[in-house]
């Protein structure tokens, strides 16, 4: 699949090194288009058959002052000829488009790593904004790296001489120039990006042309100047055959829920109020009205969930989504959904907290909130996708469980999953579960709280159905009739029935799978977005021959049936989490297993090396 253009002639004479995994980080000002550069490199790598994993890193400000430290935007990607699960601990390559980007990112670059710098931006004023006393291009602070100092901006402008675009816009093409450089260095074809640019800017052909000229200029510069004295190849990974696309977690979430609703045969209703990092789900869903999807941007989170519950009452698939602070606001209404036993899915794309916290960073610290953050005994199901693409599958699971058991289910994503992307093996329609819902219409024998024997679900009887007129509400219900009841014994019964109903979902969820041997010295038990780092750590340790396995909970309430058995098969259970030990608390309380909690709350995923060091303490 590799492309040989005429410009590639130099390359043939240079030494080539085969690598199996490379991590690149592109970093620049928010206005520098680093997210595009990153995603383009990612898609191209995926298309040529690498396995990939990515980590975008946005600034919290919309557009902090150009050149400032808070304005730095980054995109890290890991591509490999092996099966990979994380965007890489430390970049091997850092492309820094200005001094601020260098300042913020250099500490992560591996010792001896490749550093590509856009020298044009190392002006006195930019150095000052980044807080550099002396110019790192000139002092020896970069001596530990393989530094390539390139005038990326001016080269881009030179390449675009004669373009009709205004100067500012010409300058903006420099990210494609940088992309061209990297494509050469890692031997990627230009076609996929060419196609993308042409499609994206079809309405603005001058922009398309300028970007492509910059792309080629970067590529050719590398090819002709011999600034790089060798280049690299990263071969195809052994990936399950099939059709793939690159997808972010939030996209996968959105289309997962559209698919889920479609499978039930009911329209999707999404009530939401914008909040980082969940807003993209609203944006995506609002584009798909032709699926009958109704998106309702409410006045706040409470109204958003209120409308979703109302829609569920009326027979839609009720969905509401937010991040942690929004969940706090929704909690009273979630209680009502639990009491009225309506199917509802609540998305929580977790972010750093408490309070406003670190809105653009990731964290896994809402688990206990979704478990317990409501008055009284108020159980709900909880599922948590493990990877961006897994959001698709778990969205379907959430709807399946909510409609089958007639109860709210949480879908616990996070900023890392939501914004991160990975190649997704597109399922065929036959792979998707049967989950058509049916409403009660039979008048004879109808009682609003008469339960299904197996699931304990009450009937879903929607307004518009003749003869089933009934009233529901937040006051305790009488068993079977659903009338208001203050009876003490009835209350005790109902409290236990609601708990039992959630517990019974167990019969409908898959067993917990173990990666590695089913028993041994250490089990790494994880949940959510730490899947990549945990699996990679386990894999690397297994490759060393160490008795370490991993398991990942995608169903957090209830836990899969075999959970205790799995845990008891290991001498030590270590639970790494991006919080202060929330899953660990649940596991310890439930099974009385002395699980060790390993925690880090830094707004970013674990490094594989950190996990390995932790496990080593137990070997």
């Amino acid at each position: 699949m590799s492309v040989t253009t005429k410009e590639d002639q130099t390359k043939q004479q240079l030494p080539v090194e085969e690598l199996d995994t490379v991590t690149i980080r592109f970093a620049g000002d928010s206005g520098d288009g680093m997210q595009i550069t990153g995603t383009q490199f990612t898609s191209t790598s995926a298309i040529i058959g690498n396995d990939i994993s990515t980590l975008p890193d946005f600034p919290a400000e919309i557009r902090a002052p150009a050149g400032s430290l808070p304005g730095v935007s980054g995109y890290q990607l890991n591509f490999s000829s092996r099966d990979i699960h994380t965007p890489g601990d430390e970049p091997n390559v850092l492309v820094a488009m200005n001094p601020a980007a260098l300042k913020v990112n250099l500490k992560d670059l591996e010792a001896g790593g490749i550093l590509v710098l856009n020298t044009d931006e190392f002006t006195e004023s930019n150095l000052k904004k980044a807080g550099y006393a002396t110019n790192p291009l000139d002092d020896d602070s970069l001596s530990g790296y393989r530094v390539f100092k390139l005038p990326i901006t001016s080269n881009t402008l030179k390449a675009l001489e004669g373009s009709s675009l205004p100067f500012k816009q010409q300058e903006r093409c420099k990210n494609f120039y940088a992309l061209g450089l990297m494509y050469w260095l890692y031997d990627r074809p230009l076609e996929p990006t060419v196609k993308w640019v042409e499609g994206k800017f079809s309405a603005k052909p001058e922009v398309a042309e300028a970007n492509l000229m910059a792309l080629h200029a970067g590529y050719n510069y590398a090819d002709t100047t011999e600034v790089f004295t060798n280049y690299y190849k990263v071969g195809k990974a052994k990936i399950r055959p099939g059709k793939y696309r690159n997808i972010t977690g939030n996209e996968a979430t959105a289309i997962g829920f559209i698919t889920a609703a479609n499978l039930t045969g009911r329209p999707l209703f999404y009530g939401s109020y914008p909040i980082t990092p969940a807003s993209d789900i609203l944006h995506e869903l609002s584009k798909h009205k032709n699926f009958g999807v109704k998106t309702f941007q409410a006045e706040d989170e409470i109204a958003a969930i209120g409308a979703a519950i109302g829609a569920a009452f009326a027979g839609d698939i009720g969905l509401t989504g937010t991040s942690g602070p929004g969940i706090a606001l929704k909690s009273e209404a979630i209680g009502l959904a639990v009491m009225t036993e309506l199917p509802l899915v609540i998305i929580d794309v977790q972010r750093g907290g408490p309070s406003t916290g670190l809105p653009t960073k990731t964290e896994q610290a809402d688990l206990l909130q979704v478990m317990f953050g409501r008055n009284s005994e108020c159980p709900a199901g909880v599922v948590a996708p493990a990877t961006p693409a897994d959001c698709f599958r778990m969205a379907i699971e959430a709807v399946r469980l909510a409609t089958k058991y007639m109860t709210p289910v949480f879908f616990l994503s996070d900023g890392y999953l939501g914004n991160g992307s990975e190649p997704w093996a597109i399922p065929s329609m036959e792979d998707l579960p049967e989950m058509k819902v049916s409403f009660r219409t039979e008048v004879e024998g109808f009682f609003p709280y008469l339960r299904d024997e197996q699931t304990l679900a009450r009937p879903w009887a929607i307004p518009g159905t003749p003869g089933l007129e009934h009233r529901i509400g937040g006051i305790e219900k009488q068993h079977i009739t659903g009338n208001v009841s203050y009876d003490p014994d009835n209350h005790d019964l109902m409290v236990r029935l609601r708990a039992e109903k959630v517990e019974r979902m167990k019969q409908d969820i898959p067993d917990l799978e173990v990666f590695g041997k089913p028993e041994g010295r250490v089990l790494l038990l994880g949940w959510g977005s730490t899947y990549g780092s945990i699996t990679t750590a386990a894999e690397q340790l297994q490759n060393r021959g160490v008795s370490v396995s991993s398991a990942h909970l995608r169903y957090l309430n209830p836990f899969p049936k075999n959970t205790e058995a799995v845990l008891r098969s290991f001498d030590h259970v270590i639970i790494p989490e991006l919080n202060l030990g929330q899953l660990a608390m649940l596991i310890r309380a439930k099974y009385l297993i002395d699980a060790a909690s390993f925690t880090m709350v830094k707004g970013k995923p674990f490094k594989v090396s950190e996990l390995i060091r932790k496990v080593e303490e137990y070997l």
């Binding site: 696309r245 798909h288 032709n290 006045e299 698709f392 307004p463 518009g464 089933l468 007129e469 009233r471």
Partner: protein
Amino acid sequence: MMRDESFIAGIKEDMSTNGEKTNGANGQTPVKLTRKDFQTDQEVRWCPGCGDYSILAQVQKVMPELGVPKENIVFISGIGCSSRFPYYMNTYGFHTIHGRAPAFATGVKLANPDLQVWVITGDGDALSIGGNHFIHALRRNIDLKIILFNNRIYGLTKGQYSPTSELGKKNKSAPMGTIDYPINPLSMAFAAEATFVGRSMDIDPKHLSMMVERLAAHKGSGFLEVYQNCNIFNDGAFKSFNEREVRDEKMIYLEHGKPLLFGKERDKGIYINKVKPEIVTVGENGITIDDILVHDENTLEPNLSYILGRMQYPEYPVPMGVFRAVQKPTYEQMLHGQVSKAISTSGAGDISKLINAGETWEIN
């Protein structure tokens, strides 16, 4: 708001003709319902003498007249004495949480615009904790029929002041007197540009049932304030103007297209001096009937309604009736219109296409 007109025109085209199905529209033979059909087997649990009984009776009386099958009617409420209402209506019902009824009702109506959706709320429920949802439901012009039982007190929690309690009122939570300037619910509704705004009271059943009918007939966000006596915690809150003996002089009934006259002799009227209403007497000081403001429910700008809504006892007679009833596209029409438009533009959604969209590649 420059874009309104053309956008609305566009929307009107997209709109499928959504609206509640009337009786028989399901293809069934219309069954004539009676008041009894709307009563439930649940014991009504308000205090004896509470004004809520009268409102319930009028609503149950009006329902059969509407020609909407009862399975297509939904009553949604928040929390409060008034919010127990749905339990007593043999329709679909949802007794939700405090202050949020409009949000739940919005979801119901958007999910199924064929339903006729009523919201029952109290002065605390709608204007204290629920003030924001109340305003947003109204401003979106979603077709909800909101009845606010205004008893100027928190009934269910036993007698704290509410946002409509009079300044200085002594009560459970303000033993030295309330220091909150009261809210005028109608002003809120006009500020939110509700398309239907009316007022009635528990002790005038004829007027009340007429207002409920008008509200039912309106398409769009409808708001009816009902003065309701809480004989336990705020007895006689309205009696200084609404007792039978004084009513004629102290209240004024609005009638569309008719001059605003009141008084036993119907000789007093409302005259607007610049923007300030004044009370004048026909036949005195050269005032003739032509000077009297003619009521007009249908002006799109709520200026006049706003001014009438601010007339308060004792300075003015208290207006009862429909202040405003105008027509604009409803929220559910526009939303479903966008859905229809999206389908006609992009074709009905196809899951296989959806998941296979974007850049894809094959691994063999």
